[in-house]
């Protein structure tokens, strides 16, 4: 009986396992995860779960008996440390060896840590797992003032959640706006306003150089010499893909595990998907690695079909959301370079879509509280047709009329 092993029992891995069964694969399916919990959803960890508004059971991606009913072997609390592509075997941390016929690597990422003095002090947190979220929740319950280090998506969401939980929040961000690298200055300013209006103190163009305190964090020190007293600090400095299990093997690693548009690595029988996969995207025409929820679901499923010989080019338009205070921020597509931006709606009212065009084609859209129109813009991005910017800008134009009609 053929064995498909999936390393990583989170969103991508569980999506792949479920898809294998949906597609009728009747061999052995092993879903191996380093964390002790069955596959759960991470987006609530920085929002509803962090604020105490959601029990852990509600974050489970599938009911507990889902895996048993479908004969998916869940191996939890198990870390895969080596892959032997020739012998098609995995080595676990406890020494166990597992043979496979095909392997999907869905190990995701781990939080980046920089050598900042005091980063290991008690009271300095980062967020990736439910265990991390529980520690931050306990700290929030003790109250006081929090410093958020880095206003990327995780930092911004944690800042909002802590503010909503009644803490004083100071955010320190090295770029000139929050979300600057992902969304650029114009939208970054909108998000800055959102946080300021909700009482987050925002320190921009400055960076934390040390965490200080006697036995636990009591203040952070910045490059510009600020000393910010605090009772806890949370840093969100991005993630790095978890690839060391294939270190020293023929599997190509370059900013993640390099795969083609069907999730195939350069080594037969070994696939990768999700945050760890540096994949070729046919719509964007380039290799890219994304850390989006939707990609975890869809690429996990695409990898499963590819493993069964039913692969198709994975050309999903990338899309993600971030909820901060009353703002539902969405981004679809990908703009590396753009020559025109048009706005439908109002940046000041935080209800808008910003369209990014290159040579007349829609590359991406960023929006706040306009999810329906983001949805309608996806086919325009995917089609690569040229569009009239004036029609994108005009709120009376139904975006569905701008994409070519497909059968």
């Amino acid at each position: 009986m053929p064995t498909i092993a999936i390393v990583g029992a989170s969103l991508t891995g569980s999506s792949a396992a479920a898809t294998l069964r949906e597609e009728g694969f009747d061999g052995r399916v092993l879903l191996i995860g380093a964390e002790p919990q069955p596959p759960y959803d991470r987006p609530p960890l920085s929002k509803n779960y962090l604020r105490g508004g959601m029990p852990f059971e509600k974050t489970l991606l599938r009911p507990a008996d889902f895996y048993r009913e479908r004969d998916i072997e869940l191996r939890l609390g198990a870390t895969v440390v080596t892959v032997d592509p020739e012998k098609r075997a995995l080595g676990l941390q406890d020494g166990e060896r597992i043979e496979f016929d095909q392997l999907l690597i869905a190990t995701g990422g781990r939080n980046r840590r920089f050598p900042i003095p005091g980063l290991d002090l008690p009271g300095v947190y980062d967020l990736r797992t439910v265990a991390d979220a529980d520690r931050i929740r306990d700290a929030i319950a003790r109250g006081g003032r929090a410093v958020v280090v880095g206003m990327g998506f995780i930092g911004a969401e944690v800042a909002a959640s802590m503010r909503q939980s009644g803490l004083e929040v100071v955010a320190v961000e090295p770029f000139k706006t929050p979300l600057y690298r992902a969304l650029g200055e114009d939208i970054g300013r909108v998000v800055e306003g959102l946080h300021r209006d909700h009482g987050v103190e925002m320190i921009l163009d400055d960076a934390v150089t040390a965490f200080e305190g006697a036995g636990k964090v009591e203040r952070v020190v910045t490059r510009q010499g600020r000393r910010i007293e605090c009772s806890l600090a949370v840093f969100g400095l991005g993630i790095e893909p978890v690839t060391e299990l294939v270190a020293g093997t023929a599997v190509r690693v370059d900013n993640g595990i390099v795969v083609d548009d069907q999730c195939r690595t350069n080594v037969p029988s070994i696939f990768a998907a999700g945050d760890v996969a540096n994949h070729f995207h046919p719509v964007c025409g380039r290799q890219m690695r994304v850390e989006h929820w939707q990609n975890g679901v869809k690429q996990g499923a695409a990898a499963a079909r590819s493993m069964l010989g039913r692969g198709q080019a994975y050309d999903e338009v990338h899309w993600f959301w971030s909820d901060q205070f009353d703002a539902n921020i969405q981004y679809a597509g990908f703009h590396a370079a753009w020559d025109q931006m048009v706005v439908r709606g109002s940046l000041a009212e935080r209800k808008f879509l910003a369209f990014y065009l290159a040579e007349g084609r829609l590359e991406s859209v960023v929006a706040i509280n306009q999810g329906r129109d983001v949805r309608r813009a996806l086919p325009i991005i995917k089609s690569r047709v040229t569009v009239d910017p004036a029609r994108l800008e005009d709120p009376s134009v139904d975006l569905r009329t701008l994409a070519p009609v497909t059968a």
Partner: protein
């Protein structure tokens, strides 16, 4: 006791359109799919968000916040992040009145 409640005029909801109404303080979405009317809980089961503000494509509603999808004929989840179906309600047309059994 369930009873039929008039929620809108049939000709006020165009084909392909959804509106949000309230019945006993509960938000309910009413959709017109090619002349057939459907009623369902307006609040997405994933997080509080109005489905009527989302996208309707034939009998599939997409939540605007996180793109969960439901079949409005039976409430079934068609796409995550939602995992719990939405409740659907019988609808009848009396003259020009759209009535929802509630």
């Amino acid at each position: 006791m369930p009873r039929f409640v008039t929620v809108a005029k049939a000709d006020s909801i165009q084909p392909g359109q959804m509106i949000k109404v309230e019945i006993d303080n509960l938000p309910v979405a009413v959709a017109n799919v090619g002349g057939t009317f459907h009623a369902f809980d307006d609040t997405c089961t994933h997080e509080d968000c109005s489905l009527a503000e989302g996208e309707l494509a034939k009998t599939v509603v997409t939540c605007p916040a996180h793109f969960a999808e439901f079949d409005i004929r039976n409430g079934a989840v068609l796409a995550p992040p939602a995992t719990v179906p939405i409740k659907v309600y019988p609808v009848r047309i009396q003259g020009n009145d759209v009535q929802v059994e509630f």
